[in-house]
């Protein structure tokens, strides 16, 4: 899921940083305008950034690749706008400490995963209502599923559009499709997990959800 250094052309990396700078600025601005309790927002963002940082080490082998949880949907529904900078911080530490992702691709990776988190949150807000029973699981499920699927689609699209000339494009294209397909079980699992968390929080602490 993390695109490492050396895989993308320089102009794409620069564009990624530009897009990330804009979205980070917009996220902080929106978060400031919608909450008066900044201490609460920062403390929650820190905890979720820690979770995001750690789960990248949970490897789930689904041949031909191994996948790891993304948590974009969960980050989105818990943090809202601030999920983007939280994911950006998590990605920075993953790149700095373990080489997961890269510094040149940090902007692009933040856009793919942070953007997916924001869109998953949007889907959650659209679907969230007063449903009871099984239907109350749908908004969380969609958010969790959407978070992974969008991150994979964004990452895969960027990789496909930037396949270098010196490698076999057909082989790389097939590998990217296989990588995307391997994430489908993970998307379903994150959908179920996010649905359960969202329903629980809606019952006991609805104010925790963004």
């Amino acid at each position: 899921m993390h695109i490492p250094d050396g895989m993308l052309p320089a102009e794409v990396c620069i564009a990624g940083y530009a897009g990330t700078a804009f979205l980070a600025w917009l996220s902080v601005k929106k978060a400031k305008s919608t909450t008066e309790d900044s201490a609460r927002v920062v403390s929650r963002a820190s905890v979720m950034a820690a979770a995001f940082f750690v789960v990248s080490w949970v490897h789930i082998p689904i041949p031909p690749v191994s996948v790891h949880p993304v948590l974009a949907g969960l980050m989105g529904i818990l943090l809202g706008w601030i999920s983007f900078p939280a994911i950006l911080v998590g990605l920075f530490f993953q790149a700095a400490m373990f080489g997961h992702g890269g510094f040149t691709t940090l902007g692009v990776n933040a856009l793919t995963m942070g953007g997916a988190a924001l869109l998953a949150w949007g889907a959650f807000r659209l679907l969230k209502g007063n449903e009871k029973g099984v239907k109350s699981l749908i908004p969380g499920f969609v958010a969790g599923l959407t978070g992974v699927v969008l991150a994979v689609v964004f990452t895969g699209s960027i990789l496909i559009l930037t396949i270098p000339e010196h490698i076999d494009a057909g082989v790389e294209f097939s590998s990217i499709l296989a990588m995307a397909a391997a994430h489908l079980p993970l998307a379903l699992a994150e959908g179920v997990f996010t649905a359960l968390v969202a329903r629980f929080l809606l019952k006991v602490r609805p104010d925790v959800l963004a």
């Binding site: 050396g6 201490a39 920062v42 820190s46 490698i167 790389e172």
Partner: protein
């Protein structure tokens, strides 16, 4: 061209065997290279140990970094071998790529020790300690702001 045509260069390659198999941990992929006779042997795996089978390998020499010296694909064990032309260059870059994952390793057959030091990976203990430090940093930040919030509530 045989590497043994020049005894000095042959000796350099032979000496490299002593420093073989230093892992590179990075970008979710682990690439190991070693000298085996006249050829360079590349082994690529994801950082959880799963071999990067059928990954595309592109080799560049330092003298012609924009033109691939040779291209190929790893086998089912994530392995690949090539014969370097050491008259063309002693420094090589090898990129291993699969679905946008992989790494590029650089090595010089003339300056083994410095390059090998750079290529050493992290031990599991180091990874655990580093993770714990970062997580503690996040949690500490959260606790700091949570306590600040409590303080504000107490004053109001």
């Amino acid at each position: 061209m045989s590497l043994h045509s020049d005894p000095v260069k042959g000796l350099l390659l032979s000496a490299s065997v002593l420093f073989a198999s230093f892992p590179v941990l990075g970008h979710g992929a682990r690439v190991v290279w070693e000298v085996q006779g006249d050829s360079i042997h590349i082994s690529a795996a994801f950082d959880d140990g799963l071999p990067m089978d059928r990954a595309q390998v592109t080799v560049f020499s330092a003298t012609e970094p924009s033109e691939p010296y040779i291209s190929g694909m790893t086998d089912e064990n994530g392995e690949f071998a090539f014969l370097p032309d050491i008259e063309q260059s002693l420094s090589w870059d090898v990129q291993v790529r699969k679905a946008g994952h992989g790494d590029m390793v650089h090595f010089s057959l003339a300056e083994e020790s410095e390059d090998f030091i750079e290529q050493r990976g992290l031990t599991t203990l180091q990874i655990i300690l580093m993770s714990a430090c970062v997580v503690w940093g996040f949690i500490g930040t959260a606790l700091f702001f949570a306590s600040k919030r409590k303080g504000q509530n107490a004053h109001s």
